[in-house]
């Protein structure tokens, strides 16, 4: 049943995660109340407002935007992870492990320190800084890791970790050296949203729609690339253009996620990996499924982050690392025994 209906299953899972994430918090708001409140917001729907205005305010101005930002971030990280894996022909490429997320973080923080995080203009410039940081990092890591036209696992991860650590160190220096509060800086580096409310959602939305929209269309290119660059070209794919296209789109998607949600690792690794086991490696299917499942996974991680040390909140990046790092080691062990493509 689950295997035969990947889209249905993942959509239902995501809807459930969204609803549960809105319900969960200092006050539990029952899902049916949430649905009625949300339905009441739709045009031409008139419901008797039998809910408390406090609940309505909590949902509409806090939990709904937070939940949407988390879901979009998860979707972006998982799908760009899948795209990097296809591009590098390496199942362990993840925006965090290959350093791109840290590079994006550096770019974002650079923009924050230059503009001040509160300024309206600054808010919209942050993704551009993150995007520039991500592109430069991916090009650097790619060229460092390349050996005879291949990108082997060891050099990719080593180059990614080294470049990522360097970028993170620069980011910390910048954050601690300027008037951004230490707490906010640490939260960002560990993967937590620095700002609440609708503003970040509206700031990421256009980039996310473009980035993930274009990623959805890269499935065929990535499939053909799996046979190697030379064969892909002999089949008629302009590999230079294809690679540049995927790098730009995946980096844009990663960068926007990092810009407002901090450096969150392992989502881009775990989600495509599980999806491949369940529904195969066809990128035409893997990319949209990664968006749905990535949203769900990060929402569940975020819920854990909110309840583990309640009433305070852990940065969600800590939760994904706690779950993701052992998962990464498990894949490594498996990779030693079998070749999966």
């Amino acid at each position: 049943m689950i295997r035969r209906h990947p889209y249905l299953f993942n959509t239902l899972l995501l809807l459930g995660a969204l609803l549960f994430s809105i319900a969960l918090g200092a006050v539990w708001i029952p899902p049916q109340t949430i649905l009625r409140i949300l339905a009441g917001q739709l045009p031409f729907v008139h419901l008797l407002a039998d809910w408390s205005t406090a609940h309505e305010a909590i949902i509409l101005s806090l939990r709904l935007p937070h939940t949407l930002l988390v879901a979009l971030t998860g979707a972006a990280l998982a799908s760009s992870g899948a795209a990097y894996q296809g591009l590098f022909r390496n199942p362990l490429a993840d925006p965090y492990l290959i350093g791109v997320a840290s590079g994006a973080g550096l770019g974002a923080v650079l923009m924050m320190t230059l503009n001040g995080i509160s300024g309206q203009l600054g808010l919209y410039l942050i993704p551009i800084g993150a995007f520039t940081g991500a592109i430069l990092t991916v090009l650097l890591v790619y060229n460092l890791a390349r050996v005879n036209g291949m990108v082997p696992l060891t050099t990719l991860i080593l180059a990614g970790v080294a470049v990522g650590a360097f970028a993170s160190a620069l980011t910390s220096t910048l954050m601690l050296g300027t008037d951004l509060q230490i707490h906010r800086a640490i939260t960002f580096l560990l993967g937590g949203s620095p700002i609440a409310g609708w503003q970040p959602v509206l700031a990421v939305l256009p980039y996310m729609l473009v980035g993930m929209g274009l990623l959805t269309f890269s499935g065929h290119i990535l499939n053909v690339l799996q046979f190697g660059e030379e064969e892909a070209q002999q089949m008629g794919l302009d590999i230079r253009r294809a690679k540049i296209f995927v790098i730009i789109v995946a980096s844009l998607t990663t960068a926007v996620a990092v810009a407002f949600s901090g450096v969150i690792g392992f989502v881009g690794l775990i989600v495509p990996h599980i999806l491949r086991i369940l529904w195969g490696a066809d990128y035409k299917r893997l990319l949209p499924l990664s968006m749905l499942a990535g949203g769900s996974l990060l929402l569940f991680s975020d819920m854990l982050a909110r309840i583990l040390i309640a009433p305070s909140t852990l940065p969600v990046g800590i939760v994904t690392a706690l779950a993701g790092a052992p998962f990464f080691l498990w894949i490594l062990r498996r990779a030693k025994r079998e070749v999966f493509w």
Binding site: F217, G219, H220, I221, N223, V224, Q226, F227, E230, E231, A232, Q233, Q234, M235, G236, L237, D238, R276, G280, A281, D282, K284, V339, F340, W341
Partner: protein, 258 residues
């Protein structure tokens, strides 16, 4: 159908191919032979456009394909790469469908005609029953047929094969060559095939091109090229050549017995 004229190509500063010229007619198989490092694979890469050429031309139906864009070139020349371990991720049908890339555009949206041609390519290579199987689970001989089917799906008048019988056992070697012969005759394909096993060459090829150190040493029928004198000199090892007792094609024994 295929004309290669004064083709030269290099890796970096080292020139690998020196002014190679030959022509292959529709329905004809040209075998490319020569010792390791003679430039067989380089010639196929240069002709298919994955290695930039320095001088010369590759013409398909009179058109210079080196001047064409990547997709247009893939509609004129298809390459069957060396036998290799294919990853397990795709079904046979999906892998063969990727041969339609040059016709499908970036989104890879497949039309009725693409599906029709893929079904034809699968039938030609006796893979129809395997369409839904994962390519990683297939035997070496079956995987090589998948690569051939993928090249057929490109619907090109010219087919280039790079040592397609490598790693295959005797049964699969002869079956694959018989299949290539049948396709060349029935589909009027011009075929260039790099081969190591000289006895397979005399079995399957209409013409033989002998490459040594990137130069074309001999070009002709297998009787003309597969002589003890030419092969001994090219491979720097003594060989005996005798005619097959039934068909009369040359048979090559390494190590002279006199």
């Amino acid at each position: 159908m295929l004309e290669v004229s004064t083709l030269s190509a290099s890796y970096g500063k080292r020139r690998i191919l020196h002014e190679i010229s030959f022509a292959v007619e529709a329905g004809e198989i040209l075998a490319l032979i020569g010792p390791n490092g003679a430039g067989k694979t380089t010639l196929i890469r240069a002709a298919s456009g994955t290695l930039p050429i320095e001088a010369g031309q590759v013409r398909v139906r009179g058109r210079n394909v080196t001047k064409l864009g990547i997709a247009e070139r893939a509609r004129n020349l298809a390459v069957v790469p060396q036998a290799q371990q294919l990853g397990g991720a795709y079904s046979v049908e999906e892998a063969v469908m990727m041969g339609r890339t040059a016709y499908m555009g970036w989104l890879g949206r497949e039309g009725a005609r693409d599906r029709e041609i893929v079904a034809w390519a699968l039938a030609q290579t006796q893979l129809s029953d395997y369409a839904q199987q994962q390519i990683g689970a297939l035997s070496g001989g079956e995987q090589q047929r998948v690569l051939l089917a993928r090249a057929l799906a490109q619907k090109t008048p010219v087919l280039l094969l790079d040592e397609p019988t490598n790693h295959l056992d005797l049964q699969y070697q002869t079956r694959l060559l018989a299949l290539v012969q049948k396709l060349a005759r029935e589909e009027k394909l011009a075929v260039v095939m790099a081969l190591h096993d000289l006895n397979l060459v005399s079995l399957a090829a209409d013409k033989v091109a002998l490459l040594v150190d990137g130069k074309l040493e001999a070009l002709g029928t297998s009787q003309e090229v597969l002589t003890a004198e030419k092969i001994s000199a090219a491979y720097r090892t003594p060989v005996d050549v005798v005619p097959h007792p039934i068909s009369g094609v040359p048979i090559i024994f390494p190590g002279s017995v006199d």
